[in-house]
Amino acid sequence: MRHLTIPIDDEAIGDLKVGDPVALSGVMITARDAAHKWMVETFVKKTRPPQGDDLAVYEALKPLLNGSAIYHCGPVVAGLDTKQYRFVAAGPTTSIREEPYQGEVMRHFNVKAVIGKGGMGAKTLAACQDVPGVYLHAIGGAASLIAQTVVKVIGVYKLDFGVPEAMWVIEVKDFPAVVTMNAHGVSLHAEIEAKSKAVLERLLST
Protein backbone atom coordinates (compact mmCIF):
# COMPACT_ATOMS: atom_id res chain seq x y z
CA MET A 1 0.00 0.00 0.00
CA ARG A 2 1.41 3.39 -1.00
CA HIS A 3 0.32 6.48 0.89
CA LEU A 4 -0.25 9.58 -1.22
CA THR A 5 -0.79 13.04 0.19
CA ILE A 6 -2.62 15.78 -1.71
CA PRO A 7 -1.21 17.94 -3.24
CA ILE A 8 0.67 15.10 -4.95
CA ASP A 9 4.16 15.86 -6.22
CA ASP A 10 5.46 14.77 -9.61
CA GLU A 11 8.01 12.39 -8.15
CA ALA A 12 5.32 10.41 -6.31
CA ILE A 13 3.20 10.35 -9.49
CA GLY A 14 6.13 9.12 -11.57
CA ASP A 15 6.78 6.23 -9.20
CA LEU A 16 3.28 4.79 -9.49
CA LYS A 17 2.84 1.56 -11.38
CA VAL A 18 -0.34 0.00 -12.69
CA GLY A 19 -1.68 -2.38 -10.05
CA ASP A 20 -0.32 -0.41 -7.08
CA PRO A 21 -2.85 -0.09 -4.25
CA VAL A 22 -2.83 3.44 -2.82
CA ALA A 23 -4.30 5.25 0.18
CA LEU A 24 -5.00 8.90 -0.53
CA SER A 25 -5.20 11.67 2.09
CA GLY A 26 -5.94 15.37 1.79
CA VAL A 27 -8.51 17.62 0.12
CA MET A 28 -10.14 16.55 -3.14
CA ILE A 29 -13.22 17.57 -5.13
CA THR A 30 -16.05 15.54 -6.59
CA ALA A 31 -16.94 16.33 -10.18
CA ARG A 32 -18.93 14.36 -12.70
CA ASP A 33 -20.94 14.93 -15.87
CA ALA A 34 -22.45 18.39 -15.33
CA ALA A 35 -19.29 19.77 -13.68
CA HIS A 36 -16.96 18.54 -16.43
CA LYS A 37 -19.15 19.92 -19.20
CA TRP A 38 -19.41 23.23 -17.32
CA MET A 39 -15.65 23.49 -16.69
CA VAL A 40 -14.68 22.77 -20.28
CA GLU A 41 -17.33 24.91 -21.98
CA THR A 42 -16.95 27.89 -19.63
CA PHE A 43 -13.23 28.03 -18.84
CA VAL A 44 -11.27 25.81 -21.21
CA LYS A 45 -12.97 26.17 -24.61
CA LYS A 46 -14.91 29.27 -23.58
CA THR A 47 -17.82 28.45 -25.86
CA ARG A 48 -20.24 29.50 -23.13
CA PRO A 49 -20.02 32.87 -21.32
CA PRO A 50 -19.66 32.71 -17.51
CA GLN A 51 -22.94 33.27 -15.70
CA GLY A 52 -24.08 33.79 -12.11
CA ASP A 53 -21.37 32.70 -9.69
CA ASP A 54 -19.28 30.95 -12.37
CA LEU A 55 -16.24 33.23 -12.14
CA ALA A 56 -16.21 33.26 -8.35
CA VAL A 57 -16.40 29.45 -8.29
CA TYR A 58 -13.63 29.25 -10.90
CA GLU A 59 -11.32 31.38 -8.74
CA ALA A 60 -12.10 29.20 -5.73
CA LEU A 61 -11.55 25.96 -7.67
CA LYS A 62 -8.18 26.86 -9.19
CA PRO A 63 -6.10 26.56 -6.00
CA LEU A 64 -8.16 23.61 -4.82
CA LEU A 65 -7.60 21.63 -8.01
CA ASN A 66 -3.94 22.54 -8.46
CA GLY A 67 -1.98 19.36 -7.70
CA SER A 68 -5.12 17.74 -6.36
CA ALA A 69 -7.56 14.98 -7.28
CA ILE A 70 -10.97 14.91 -8.94
CA TYR A 71 -13.32 12.20 -7.75
CA HIS A 72 -16.05 10.96 -10.10
CA CYS A 73 -18.73 10.57 -7.49
CA GLY A 74 -22.34 11.53 -6.87
CA PRO A 75 -22.69 10.97 -3.12
CA VAL A 76 -25.63 10.41 -0.81
CA VAL A 77 -25.35 13.38 1.56
CA ALA A 78 -27.05 13.82 4.93
CA GLY A 79 -27.63 17.23 6.53
CA LEU A 80 -28.87 19.00 3.42
CA ASP A 81 -31.45 20.97 5.43
CA THR A 82 -29.01 22.15 8.13
CA LYS A 83 -25.96 22.41 5.83
CA GLN A 84 -24.09 20.22 8.33
CA TYR A 85 -23.14 17.98 5.42
CA ARG A 86 -22.04 14.40 5.93
CA PHE A 87 -21.27 11.78 3.25
CA VAL A 88 -23.37 8.67 3.86
CA ALA A 89 -22.52 6.73 0.70
CA ALA A 90 -19.85 7.78 -1.75
CA GLY A 91 -18.57 5.19 -4.22
CA PRO A 92 -17.24 6.07 -7.68
CA THR A 93 -19.35 6.57 -10.79
CA THR A 94 -18.40 5.32 -14.28
CA SER A 95 -15.54 7.49 -15.52
CA ILE A 96 -15.66 6.94 -19.26
CA ARG A 97 -18.44 9.51 -19.66
CA GLU A 98 -15.87 12.21 -18.81
CA GLU A 99 -13.47 11.02 -21.51
CA PRO A 100 -14.30 13.93 -23.87
CA TYR A 101 -13.45 16.45 -21.11
CA GLN A 102 -11.01 14.89 -18.67
CA GLY A 103 -7.68 15.52 -20.39
CA GLU A 104 -8.42 19.20 -20.92
CA VAL A 105 -9.55 19.62 -17.32
CA MET A 106 -6.37 17.91 -16.05
CA ARG A 107 -4.15 20.17 -18.13
CA HIS A 108 -6.06 23.39 -17.40
CA PHE A 109 -6.19 22.95 -13.62
CA ASN A 110 -3.05 20.80 -13.14
CA VAL A 111 -5.07 17.90 -11.72
CA LYS A 112 -2.75 15.08 -10.66
CA ALA A 113 -5.19 12.28 -10.01
CA VAL A 114 -8.55 11.30 -11.39
CA ILE A 115 -10.49 8.79 -9.30
CA GLY A 116 -13.42 6.79 -10.58
CA LYS A 117 -14.35 3.37 -11.87
CA GLY A 118 -14.20 1.49 -15.15
CA GLY A 119 -11.16 3.35 -16.47
CA MET A 120 -10.75 5.94 -19.20
CA GLY A 121 -9.49 6.12 -22.76
CA ALA A 122 -6.60 7.32 -24.88
CA LYS A 123 -7.17 11.07 -24.44
CA THR A 124 -7.01 10.84 -20.66
CA LEU A 125 -4.03 8.48 -20.82
CA ALA A 126 -2.19 11.07 -22.92
CA ALA A 127 -3.02 13.78 -20.37
CA CYS A 128 -1.69 11.53 -17.60
CA GLN A 129 1.64 11.51 -19.44
CA ASP A 130 1.67 15.29 -20.05
CA VAL A 131 0.57 16.66 -16.67
CA PRO A 132 1.83 14.15 -15.26
CA GLY A 133 -1.00 12.38 -13.48
CA VAL A 134 -2.67 9.05 -12.83
CA TYR A 135 -6.06 7.41 -12.94
CA LEU A 136 -7.03 5.70 -9.71
CA HIS A 137 -9.72 3.03 -9.64
CA ALA A 138 -11.94 2.95 -6.57
CA ILE A 139 -14.17 -0.04 -5.83
CA GLY A 140 -17.49 0.49 -7.58
CA GLY A 141 -20.44 0.08 -5.27
CA ALA A 142 -18.38 0.11 -2.06
CA ALA A 143 -20.16 3.28 -1.06
CA SER A 144 -20.56 2.94 2.72
CA LEU A 145 -16.96 1.80 3.08
CA ILE A 146 -15.53 4.67 1.05
CA ALA A 147 -17.77 7.23 2.80
CA GLN A 148 -15.98 6.34 6.04
CA THR A 149 -12.74 7.70 4.62
CA VAL A 150 -14.38 11.09 4.04
CA VAL A 151 -13.53 12.71 7.35
CA LYS A 152 -14.97 16.14 6.55
CA VAL A 153 -17.16 17.85 3.98
CA ILE A 154 -15.47 21.23 3.67
CA GLY A 155 -17.96 22.81 1.32
CA VAL A 156 -19.93 22.54 -1.89
CA TYR A 157 -20.03 24.42 -5.18
CA LYS A 158 -22.70 24.30 -7.86
CA LEU A 159 -25.32 22.67 -5.68
CA ASP A 160 -27.83 23.90 -8.28
CA PHE A 161 -26.54 21.02 -10.48
CA GLY A 162 -28.28 18.72 -7.96
CA VAL A 163 -26.74 16.72 -5.10
CA PRO A 164 -25.08 14.03 -7.26
CA GLU A 165 -23.66 16.52 -9.79
CA ALA A 166 -22.51 19.22 -7.36
CA MET A 167 -18.80 19.78 -6.67
CA TRP A 168 -18.19 18.67 -3.10
CA VAL A 169 -14.92 19.67 -1.46
CA ILE A 170 -13.96 16.87 0.89
CA GLU A 171 -11.13 15.92 3.16
CA VAL A 172 -10.26 12.24 3.00
CA LYS A 173 -8.01 10.01 5.04
CA ASP A 174 -6.64 6.80 3.54
CA PHE A 175 -9.10 6.75 0.66
CA PRO A 176 -8.48 3.32 -1.00
CA ALA A 177 -7.88 2.92 -4.73
CA VAL A 178 -5.75 1.06 -7.26
CA VAL A 179 -3.59 2.67 -9.95
CA THR A 180 -4.96 1.46 -13.29
CA MET A 181 -3.52 4.14 -15.62
CA ASN A 182 -0.15 5.69 -14.87
CA ALA A 183 1.97 8.59 -16.08
CA HIS A 184 4.04 6.36 -18.38
CA GLY A 185 1.26 5.43 -20.80
CA VAL A 186 0.32 2.09 -19.22
CA SER A 187 -3.39 1.30 -18.92
CA LEU A 188 -4.74 -1.85 -17.29
CA HIS A 189 -8.05 -1.17 -19.04
CA ALA A 190 -6.54 -1.18 -22.52
CA GLU A 191 -4.73 -4.41 -21.66
CA ILE A 192 -7.85 -6.19 -20.33
CA GLU A 193 -9.91 -4.96 -23.30
CA ALA A 194 -7.40 -6.40 -25.76
CA LYS A 195 -7.05 -9.74 -23.97
CA SER A 196 -10.79 -10.22 -23.55
CA LYS A 197 -11.35 -9.25 -27.19
CA ALA A 198 -9.09 -12.09 -28.30
CA VAL A 199 -11.05 -14.55 -26.14
CA LEU A 200 -14.35 -13.21 -27.48
CA GLU A 201 -13.21 -13.71 -31.06
CA ARG A 202 -12.24 -17.29 -30.31
CA LEU A 203 -15.64 -17.93 -28.66
CA LEU A 204 -17.56 -16.31 -31.52
CA SER A 205 -15.77 -18.45 -34.08
CA THR A 206 -17.26 -21.64 -32.58
Binding site: A89, I192, L204
Partner: protein
Protein backbone atom coordinates in the same frame (compact mmCIF):
# COMPACT_ATOMS: atom_id res chain seq x y z
CA UNK B 1 -57.61 0.79 2.00
CA UNK B 2 -54.83 0.91 4.58
CA UNK B 3 -51.92 3.30 4.29
CA UNK B 4 -48.74 1.35 3.45
CA UNK B 5 -46.40 4.34 3.19
CA UNK B 6 -44.33 3.50 6.30
CA UNK B 7 -44.14 -0.19 5.36
CA UNK B 8 -42.94 0.87 1.89
CA UNK B 9 -40.23 3.12 3.38
CA UNK B 10 -39.03 0.03 5.25
CA UNK B 11 -39.02 -1.96 1.99
CA UNK B 12 -36.86 0.75 0.42
CA UNK B 13 -34.51 0.86 3.42
CA UNK B 14 -34.01 -2.89 3.30
CA UNK B 15 -33.49 -2.91 -0.44
CA UNK B 16 -30.93 -0.12 -0.43
CA UNK B 17 -28.93 -1.23 2.60
CA UNK B 18 -29.29 -5.02 2.97
CA UNK B 19 -28.05 -7.12 0.04
CA UNK B 20 -30.00 -10.38 -0.46
CA UNK B 21 -28.23 -13.42 1.03
CA UNK B 22 -28.04 -15.33 -2.26
CA UNK B 23 -26.22 -12.44 -3.97
CA UNK B 24 -23.81 -12.11 -1.06
CA UNK B 25 -23.13 -15.85 -1.11
CA UNK B 26 -22.25 -15.78 -4.78
CA UNK B 27 -19.83 -12.91 -4.08
CA UNK B 28 -18.21 -14.99 -1.32
CA UNK B 29 -17.83 -17.84 -3.83
CA UNK B 30 -16.27 -15.46 -6.34
CA UNK B 31 -13.74 -14.23 -3.80
CA UNK B 32 -12.67 -17.80 -3.09
CA UNK B 33 -12.03 -18.40 -6.80
CA UNK B 34 -9.75 -15.40 -7.27
CA UNK B 35 -6.02 -15.68 -6.85
CA UNK B 36 -4.81 -14.82 -3.35
CA UNK B 37 -3.45 -11.29 -3.17
CA UNK B 38 -4.78 -10.27 -6.59
CA UNK B 39 -6.51 -6.93 -7.24
CA UNK B 40 -9.62 -8.94 -8.12
CA UNK B 41 -9.69 -10.70 -4.77
CA UNK B 42 -8.99 -7.48 -2.93
CA UNK B 43 -11.88 -5.80 -4.76
CA UNK B 44 -14.25 -8.58 -3.72
CA UNK B 45 -13.06 -8.34 -0.11
CA UNK B 46 -13.83 -4.62 -0.10
CA UNK B 47 -17.20 -5.32 -1.68
CA UNK B 48 -18.09 -7.87 1.02
CA UNK B 49 -16.83 -5.59 3.77
CA UNK B 50 -19.02 -2.84 2.36
CA UNK B 51 -22.05 -5.16 2.23
CA UNK B 52 -21.66 -5.97 5.94
CA UNK B 53 -21.07 -2.34 6.90
CA UNK B 54 -24.11 -1.09 4.97
CA UNK B 55 -26.33 -3.69 6.62
CA UNK B 56 -25.02 -2.81 10.09
CA UNK B 57 -25.35 0.96 9.67
CA UNK B 58 -28.44 1.06 7.44
CA UNK B 59 -26.57 3.08 4.83
CA UNK B 60 -26.88 2.59 1.06
CA UNK B 61 -24.70 -0.20 -0.31
CA UNK B 62 -24.08 1.97 -3.36
CA UNK B 63 -24.55 5.73 -3.61
CA UNK B 64 -26.29 5.23 -6.93
CA UNK B 65 -29.60 4.00 -5.63
CA UNK B 66 -30.76 3.87 -9.21
CA UNK B 67 -34.23 3.88 -10.65
CA UNK B 68 -36.61 2.45 -8.06
CA UNK B 69 -38.63 -0.17 -9.95
CA UNK B 70 -41.70 -1.55 -8.16
CA UNK B 71 -43.50 -4.69 -9.30
CA UNK B 72 -46.90 -4.75 -7.61
CA UNK B 73 -49.02 -7.92 -7.69
CA UNK B 74 -52.33 -7.10 -6.05
CA UNK B 75 -55.55 -9.03 -5.44
CA UNK B 76 -58.83 -7.63 -6.73
CA UNK B 77 -60.05 -4.57 -4.86
CA UNK B 78 -56.83 -2.63 -4.34
CA UNK B 79 -56.71 0.88 -5.76
CA UNK B 80 -53.66 1.14 -7.98
CA UNK B 81 -54.03 4.92 -7.98
CA UNK B 82 -53.71 5.04 -4.19
CA UNK B 83 -50.92 2.47 -4.14
CA UNK B 84 -49.00 4.62 -6.57
CA UNK B 85 -49.53 7.68 -4.35
CA UNK B 86 -48.23 5.74 -1.33
CA UNK B 87 -45.23 4.42 -3.25
CA UNK B 88 -44.35 7.95 -4.33
CA UNK B 89 -44.75 9.29 -0.80
CA UNK B 90 -42.50 6.48 0.50
CA UNK B 91 -39.84 7.20 -2.14
CA UNK B 92 -39.74 10.88 -1.16
CA UNK B 93 -39.51 9.99 2.55
CA UNK B 94 -36.78 7.42 1.98
CA UNK B 95 -34.84 10.08 0.05
CA UNK B 96 -35.16 12.55 2.93
CA UNK B 97 -33.82 9.81 5.24
CA UNK B 98 -30.79 9.22 2.99
CA UNK B 99 -31.77 5.67 2.02
CA UNK B 100 -32.00 6.91 -1.55
CA UNK B 101 -30.04 9.53 -3.46
CA UNK B 102 -32.15 12.15 -5.26
CA UNK B 103 -31.90 10.70 -8.75
CA UNK B 104 -34.78 12.08 -10.84
CA UNK B 105 -33.36 14.53 -13.38
CA UNK B 106 -35.57 16.24 -15.96
CA UNK B 107 -33.85 15.29 -19.22
CA UNK B 108 -34.90 18.52 -20.96
CA UNK B 109 -34.08 21.07 -18.24
CA UNK B 110 -31.37 19.12 -16.32
CA UNK B 111 -33.21 19.95 -13.11
CA UNK B 112 -32.98 17.37 -10.32
CA UNK B 113 -36.34 17.21 -8.51
CA UNK B 114 -34.50 16.66 -5.23
CA UNK B 115 -36.93 14.06 -3.89
CA UNK B 116 -36.69 11.24 -6.47
CA UNK B 117 -40.12 12.01 -7.86
CA UNK B 118 -40.20 12.56 -11.59
CA UNK B 119 -42.79 11.68 -14.20
CA UNK B 120 -45.02 8.58 -14.02
CA UNK B 121 -42.07 6.35 -14.92
CA UNK B 122 -39.90 7.68 -12.05
CA UNK B 123 -40.20 5.77 -9.81
CA UNK B 124 -41.31 3.01 -12.17
CA UNK B 125 -44.36 1.09 -10.95
CA UNK B 126 -45.77 -1.98 -12.67
CA UNK B 127 -49.19 -3.26 -11.57
CA UNK B 128 -50.64 -6.70 -12.14
CA UNK B 129 -53.88 -8.05 -10.66
CA UNK B 130 -53.56 -11.60 -9.35
CA UNK B 131 -55.64 -14.30 -7.66
CA UNK B 132 -55.42 -14.83 -3.90
CA UNK B 133 -55.39 -12.53 -0.89
CA UNK B 134 -51.77 -11.35 -0.67
CA UNK B 135 -50.42 -8.07 -1.96
CA UNK B 136 -46.84 -8.69 -3.09
CA UNK B 137 -44.51 -5.82 -3.91
CA UNK B 138 -41.02 -6.42 -5.29
CA UNK B 139 -38.60 -3.52 -5.42
CA UNK B 140 -35.47 -3.45 -7.54
CA UNK B 141 -32.96 -0.58 -7.45
CA UNK B 142 -31.27 -0.42 -10.85
CA UNK B 143 -28.20 1.80 -10.92
CA UNK B 144 -27.19 3.95 -13.87
CA UNK B 145 -23.69 2.57 -14.44
CA UNK B 146 -24.98 -0.91 -15.15
CA UNK B 147 -28.08 0.34 -16.97
CA UNK B 148 -25.79 2.18 -19.40
CA UNK B 149 -24.05 -1.04 -20.48
CA UNK B 150 -27.27 -2.92 -21.23
CA UNK B 151 -27.62 -3.78 -24.93
CA UNK B 152 -30.20 -4.85 -27.46
CA UNK B 153 -29.44 -6.86 -30.59
CA UNK B 154 -31.61 -7.36 -33.64
CA UNK B 155 -30.77 -10.72 -35.20
CA UNK B 156 -29.40 -11.65 -37.63
CA UNK B 157 -26.25 -9.68 -36.88
CA UNK B 158 -23.63 -10.09 -39.60
CA UNK B 159 -20.76 -8.61 -37.64
CA UNK B 160 -21.14 -11.24 -34.90
CA UNK B 161 -22.18 -14.02 -37.25
CA UNK B 162 -25.29 -14.34 -35.09
CA UNK B 163 -28.36 -15.93 -36.68
CA UNK B 164 -31.93 -16.23 -35.46
CA UNK B 165 -31.47 -19.14 -33.09
CA UNK B 166 -30.03 -19.88 -29.67
CA UNK B 167 -26.52 -20.03 -31.14
CA UNK B 168 -27.01 -16.47 -32.31
CA UNK B 169 -28.39 -15.48 -28.91
CA UNK B 170 -25.23 -16.87 -27.30
CA UNK B 171 -23.02 -14.70 -29.49
CA UNK B 172 -25.04 -11.57 -28.75
CA UNK B 173 -24.86 -12.14 -24.98
CA UNK B 174 -21.10 -12.77 -25.05
CA UNK B 175 -20.60 -9.61 -27.12
CA UNK B 176 -22.62 -7.62 -24.57
CA UNK B 177 -20.55 -9.05 -21.70
CA UNK B 178 -17.35 -8.08 -23.51
CA UNK B 179 -18.52 -4.58 -24.40
CA UNK B 180 -19.52 -3.93 -20.78
CA UNK B 181 -15.96 -4.67 -19.57
CA UNK B 182 -15.83 -3.56 -15.93
CA UNK B 183 -18.01 -0.48 -16.53
CA UNK B 184 -21.22 -1.93 -15.09
CA UNK B 185 -19.53 -2.87 -11.80
CA UNK B 186 -18.49 -6.43 -12.57
CA UNK B 187 -19.05 -9.15 -11.58
CA UNK B 188 -22.57 -8.60 -12.85
CA UNK B 189 -25.71 -10.63 -13.43
CA UNK B 190 -27.09 -10.70 -16.96
CA UNK B 191 -30.84 -10.67 -17.55
CA UNK B 192 -31.53 -11.85 -21.09
CA UNK B 193 -34.84 -11.74 -22.97
CA UNK B 194 -35.19 -13.44 -26.34
CA UNK B 195 -38.03 -12.14 -28.50
CA UNK B 196 -40.70 -9.51 -27.84
CA UNK B 197 -40.60 -6.02 -29.29
CA UNK B 198 -37.94 -3.55 -28.24
CA UNK B 199 -39.94 -2.35 -25.24
CA UNK B 200 -41.34 -5.65 -23.95
CA UNK B 201 -37.98 -7.34 -24.48
CA UNK B 202 -36.06 -4.90 -22.29
CA UNK B 203 -38.84 -5.07 -19.71
CA UNK B 204 -38.58 -8.86 -19.52
CA UNK B 205 -34.78 -8.74 -19.37
CA UNK B 206 -35.06 -6.77 -16.13
CA UNK B 207 -37.91 -8.73 -14.58
CA UNK B 208 -36.02 -12.02 -15.01
CA UNK B 209 -33.34 -10.62 -12.68
CA UNK B 210 -35.77 -11.12 -9.78
CA UNK B 211 -35.03 -14.86 -9.89
CA UNK B 212 -32.84 -16.40 -7.18
CA UNK B 213 -29.15 -16.58 -7.98
CA UNK B 214 -28.91 -20.36 -7.64
CA UNK B 215 -32.23 -21.43 -9.19
CA UNK B 216 -32.40 -23.37 -12.44
CA UNK B 217 -34.37 -22.21 -15.45
CA UNK B 218 -37.50 -24.41 -15.80
CA UNK B 219 -36.75 -24.73 -19.52
CA UNK B 220 -33.92 -27.29 -19.74
CA UNK B 221 -32.53 -25.75 -22.93
CA UNK B 222 -32.31 -22.32 -21.32
CA UNK B 223 -30.97 -23.82 -18.08
CA UNK B 224 -28.10 -25.38 -20.02
CA UNK B 225 -27.48 -22.18 -21.92
CA UNK B 226 -27.42 -20.05 -18.77
CA UNK B 227 -24.67 -22.25 -17.36
CA UNK B 228 -22.75 -22.24 -20.62
CA UNK B 229 -22.93 -18.44 -20.82
CA UNK B 230 -21.69 -18.04 -17.24
CA UNK B 231 -18.72 -20.28 -18.05
CA UNK B 232 -17.93 -18.57 -21.33
CA UNK B 233 -18.40 -15.00 -20.07
CA UNK B 234 -15.99 -15.83 -17.27
CA UNK B 235 -13.42 -17.04 -19.82
CA UNK B 236 -13.27 -13.41 -21.02
CA UNK B 237 -11.10 -12.71 -17.98
CA UNK B 238 -12.48 -9.20 -17.40
CA UNK B 239 -12.92 -9.97 -13.71
CA UNK B 240 -14.20 -7.95 -10.76
CA UNK B 241 -14.15 -4.20 -11.55
CA UNK B 242 -12.45 -5.06 -14.86
CA UNK B 243 -9.19 -5.72 -13.00
CA UNK B 244 -8.82 -9.11 -14.70
CA UNK B 245 -9.81 -12.35 -12.98
CA UNK B 246 -11.98 -15.44 -12.88
CA UNK B 247 -15.40 -13.94 -12.26
CA UNK B 248 -16.80 -11.56 -14.85
CA UNK B 249 -20.44 -12.54 -14.27
CA UNK B 250 -22.11 -14.09 -11.22
CA UNK B 251 -25.06 -15.39 -13.18
CA UNK B 252 -27.11 -15.33 -16.37
CA UNK B 253 -30.93 -15.44 -16.26
CA UNK B 254 -32.83 -15.98 -19.49
CA UNK B 255 -36.41 -15.86 -20.65
CA UNK B 256 -38.11 -16.52 -23.97
CA UNK B 257 -40.96 -14.45 -25.41
CA UNK B 258 -43.11 -14.36 -28.48
CA UNK B 259 -41.91 -12.18 -31.33
CA UNK B 260 -43.13 -10.86 -34.64
CA UNK B 261 -42.14 -12.90 -37.68
CA UNK B 262 -40.00 -9.95 -38.78
CA UNK B 263 -38.25 -9.30 -35.47
CA UNK B 264 -35.77 -11.25 -33.35
CA UNK B 265 -34.55 -9.17 -30.44
CA UNK B 266 -32.05 -10.20 -27.80
CA UNK B 267 -32.09 -7.79 -24.87
CA UNK B 268 -29.45 -7.84 -22.18
CA UNK B 269 -29.92 -6.00 -18.91
CA UNK B 270 -26.71 -5.84 -16.94
CA UNK B 271 -27.16 -5.84 -13.18
CA UNK B 272 -24.17 -4.76 -11.12
CA UNK B 273 -22.86 -6.94 -8.29
CA UNK B 274 -24.95 -4.77 -5.92
CA UNK B 275 -28.14 -6.52 -7.02
CA UNK B 276 -30.54 -4.80 -4.65
CA UNK B 277 -34.01 -6.27 -4.62
CA UNK B 278 -36.44 -7.11 -1.83
CA UNK B 279 -40.04 -8.29 -1.49
CA UNK B 280 -42.83 -7.11 0.79
CA UNK B 281 -45.94 -9.23 1.39
CA UNK B 282 -49.14 -7.77 2.83
CA UNK B 283 -51.73 -10.23 4.06
CA UNK B 284 -54.52 -8.73 6.18
CA UNK B 285 -52.78 -6.71 8.90
CA UNK B 286 -49.49 -8.59 8.47
CA UNK B 287 -46.58 -7.12 6.59
CA UNK B 288 -43.57 -9.36 6.04
CA UNK B 289 -40.34 -8.90 4.07
CA UNK B 290 -38.19 -11.34 2.14
Amino acid sequence: MRDLTEALVELIRRTSTDLPADVEESLVGAREREEAGSAAQSALSSILENVALSRRNSTPICQDTGTPIFYVHHPEGWSTRRLREQIRAAVAQATARSYLRPNAVDALTDKNSGNNLGDDAFPTVHFEEVEGDALVIDLMLKGGGCENVGAQYSLPNGELGAGRDLKGVRKAVLDAAHKAQGQGCAPGILGVAVGGDRGSSYYASKEVLLRKMDDANPDPKLAEMEQQLVDEANQLGIGPMGFGGQTTVLGVKMTGMHRLPASFFVSVSYMCWAHRHRRMIVRGDDVTYE
